[in-house]
């Protein structure tokens, strides 16, 4: 069966360090993978999208890698700040068009950045 796995344990890091979150998937061949941020009681907020033919994508302090051989994406936040504390979700869509159809979300990893 298809699975998307994110570390369910909270990740605690010190301010200024780099946070690395992992998303592993099985039995998918996604056209692209997305990362979202979710704060408690609020809707997910889009962060980055990476396509199957891209190895890496950057946006300000964020970096995403996508290894379709390992079936894994890594999400990095450099120079982390307490304001980065949130739950980070990865999401897959196996469709080959860009219409963002039936996104399947992982369970998310909660990041806590301590001052």
């Amino acid at each position: 069966s298809q699975k998307i796995e994110q570390n369910s344990e909270a990740l605690n890091i010190q301010e200024g360090k780099t946070a690395t979150l992992t998303c592993n998937y099985t039995n998918y061949s996604p056209a692209y993978l997305q990362w979202y941020r979710q704060d408690p009681g609020r809707g997910p907020v889009f962060l980055l999208l990476i396509r199957e033919n891209e190895k890496e994508k950057r946006k300000e302090r964020l970096k995403v890698t996508f290894d379709t051989t390992l079936k894994q994406s890594l999400f990095h936040i450099t120079a982390s700040q307490p304001a980065d504390s949130a739950t980070y979700l990865c999401a897959l869509d196996p469709s080959k068009n860009n219409a963002g159809n039936m996104l399947t979300f992982g369970g998310g990893t909660r990041l806590m950045v301590k001052p």
Binding site: Q34, Q38, G43, F46, A91, A99, G100, N101, M102, G107
Partner: protein
Amino acid sequence: EPEVTQTPSHQVTQMGQEVILRCVPISNHLYFYWYRQILGQKVEFLVSFYNNEISEKSEIFDDQFSVERPDGSNFTLKIRSTKLEDSAMYFCASSKDTGELFFGEGSRLTVL
């Protein structure tokens, strides 16, 4: 910055009652979605809507659920006869054709 708006923010209803959740997607977006998140669980896809018809739906989206775009701006989710297990946060989202979704802040549904 344009945003997806949802109403109500919280609705409490009795089991068996009909509920309508409303959403105003971002105005130039073409694709509309409903997702739900049961407390402490994953965000789950319900349905996607394009060109005035359903384009995809999940197993959760059974005959008790329906969606409608009654005018040029609103997008609604109706649950005909609510069950206890329908209690969740329901998120509306919209997108252009780039894949990224813009979510609303959600409507919390509590079924008693």
